[in-house]
Assembly symmetry: C2
Homo-oligomer: 276 residues x 2
C-alpha cells in the first residue's frame, strides 16, 4: 500500500493509496478516510462502492462524508469502481469496461482477466485494509447506482460479513434493465440464470439472513424509470418479508448533491449497527 495523497480532514486524514491487486491484475487506487479516533485505537470500516465512470476520487471529494465519519469514529474505504489501466480490457462506452465493472467476476473474454471486482471487494480489499490500518473486522457497506447494486449484492451474498448495508439510487434489478443487460451479457455470457447471482431483487427471494436494507432514491432521478425501478425492490421485500427502509426523496436527482444531502443519515444507520 503506497500512500499517494494525504489531507487533514475533520481532525482525521483523507488519504489515497495505490497497490498492485492480485485479483484484478492492475494497480488499484483506494480512498481511505481515517477518523481522529483511529489515532487512539481501532475503528470499524464503511466500504463505499461508486457508480459508473467514477474513480476513487468522486466520493471522497463530493459526498461530504468525512464530517460524519469523524463524528461516529468510522473509517471509510472507497476503491476505484473497476480494474483500470493500460492493460485492462475496455470499451468506448461509459457503461462497459473501465469505470463499469458492475462488481461482478467476469467469466467471458476479454473481460475475465481483470474485471473481478466482486472478489476484490469481498476478499482482497478488506484483507489489505485490515492488515495495514488500525481497523477492526466490523464492516458496513454502501454505494451509489452501480455501486449501490454492488453493495446490496455483496451484503446479501455474504451473510455475517457486514453489520449493515445501504444504497443510494441502486440498480436493484440489473437482469431487468438496459445497463444490466449490456454489462451482464458481456461479462457473464448469455445464460440469464447465471446473471441472477448478481441481482438484488433475485437474491432477496433466496437469502436466509434478513439484513435490513436502507435505500434512498431521488424522485427527480433521470434514471429512475429506465434503470433503477425501486418498486421492484419494494415488491420483492414485501413478498419475502425482507426488512427494507426505502426513502423516496422528491426533487432529488442522481448526482452527488443527493448523496451529500443524506449521507449523514446513512452514516448514522451504519454507526448504530457497528456499535452494537
Amino acid at each position: 500500500m503506497e500512500r499517494i495523497e494525504h489531507h487533514a480532514s475533520f481532525d482525521g486524514w483523507q488519504d489515497v493509496y495505490q497497490h498492485e491487486s492480485t485479483t484484478l491484475g492492475c494497480t488499484m487506487k483506494v480512498g481511505v478516510y481515517l477518523p481522529p479516533q483511529a489515532q487512539h485505537g481501532k475503528v470499524p470500516v464503511l466500504y463505499w462502492l461508486s457508480g459508473l465512470t467514477c474513480t476513487e476520487q468522486n466520493f471522497i471529494t463530493k459526498a461530504a462524508v468525512q464530517r460524519y465519519a469523524a463524528e461516529h469514529g468510522i473509517a471509510v474505504v472507497a476503491p476505484d469502481s473497476s480494474a483500470r489501466g493500460e492493460g485492462v480490457a475496455d470499451d468506448p462506452a461509459y457503461d462497459l469496461g473501465q469505470g463499469a465493472g458492475f462488481y461482478v467476476n467476469a467469466t467471458q473474454e476479454p473481460w475475465a482477466a481483470n474485471h473481478r471486482m466482486y472478489d476484490y471487494v469481498v476478499q482482497e480489499l478488506p484483507a489489505l485494509i485490515e492488515a495495514h490500518f488500525p481497523v477492526t473486522a466490523e464492516r458496513s457497506i454502501s454505494g451509489h447506482s452501480m455501486g449501490g447494486h454492488g453493495a446490496l449484492v455483496i451484503a446479501l451474498r455474504n451473510p455475517g460479513r457486514y453489520r449493515s448495508v445501504s444504497a443510494f439510487s441502486p440498480i436493484v434489478a440489473p437482469t431487468q434493465v438496459p445497463w444490466g443487460h449490456k454489462a451482464f451479457e458481456a461479462y457473464l455470457g448469455s445464460d440469464r440464470e447465471v446473471w441472477k447471482q448478481y441481482d438484488t431483487v433475485e437474491l432477496i427471494r433466496t437469502v436466509q439472513e434478513r439484513l435490513p436494507l436502507l435505500v434512498d432514491q431521488g424522485l427527480g432521478d433521470e434514471f429512475l424509470e429506465s434503470q433503477l425501478q425501486p418498486d421492484l425492490l419494494r415488491k420483492a421485500c414485501d413478498e419475502t418479508g425482507h426488512p427494507l427502509t426505502l426513502n423516496l426523496r422528491p426533487g432529488y436527482d442522481h448526482s452527488y448533491y443527493f448523496i451529500a444531502s443524506f449521507i449523514g443519515e446513512h452514516m448514522a444507520h451504519h454507526a448504530s449497527a457497528l456499535k452494537r
Copy 2:
C-alpha cells in the same frame, strides 16, 4: 440569467446560472444555492470567491457548504474566478489570465478589456442576484486563497456593504509575494503604489471601518511561506488594532478538504452577523 444546472440539495436547490456580463464582456457562470427558507421569504447572501484555476464548480461540489447554508437560511453565490471564454485574454500559466483574475480591475493591455472582477463582484453580480432571486441586500463575503484575498480587499474597501467577511488561506499581502508580483505587474503596471489598493495588509493600515476578520490557515499548506504569510496580517492588525481571529490549523493543507472541515464555523460566523 439562464439556469443551466438544477439540483436538489439539503431541501434547497444548488443551481448554476449563466449570464452576459457587461462588466467583463463575456458569458459568466455563477453557482447559486437557495436554502429551503428562500421558498417562503427573502434570505441574506454569502458571496464566495474561489482561488486560482477554479471555476464556479469547485466550491459548490467540494466544500460541503450546503448543509450549513440550509441550517442558517443563507443563499450562497459562487461565481467563476475570472472572466473566461474565447475572446478573453489568457496566458499559458495557471496564475495569469483566465482562472486568475485576482479580483482587480486591470488597467494594462491586453487584460483591461475583460479582467475587471473587482467591479463585477462589488457591483454587477449583487445587483443581478438581488434583482433575480428572493434575497435581501444583507451580504457577507468569503473566499479561498486568491479568493480569500479578493474577499478581504472587497470588504475592507466597501464599508457598510458587507455584514461580515472571512477567508481561508488568503493571499494577504500580494504586493510582497510572487503570485501578486506577477499578476499585479501584468494587470496594473509597474507602479507599486497602485498595487496597494488591492493588498489587505496595506488596506488594514488605512481603513476606518473595523469589520472583524475571520481567517483560517492550514499549517501544512504548501504555499504558507512562499505566498500566504499570515503573520503579515497578524502584525498589521496588531499594529492598528483591527479585530482579527486567525485560526492556524496544524496539519491542514491548501485543499478543499481544509475548507470543508471549517466552512461550518465560517457559516456560523456569517449567520451571526447576518441575523443582527
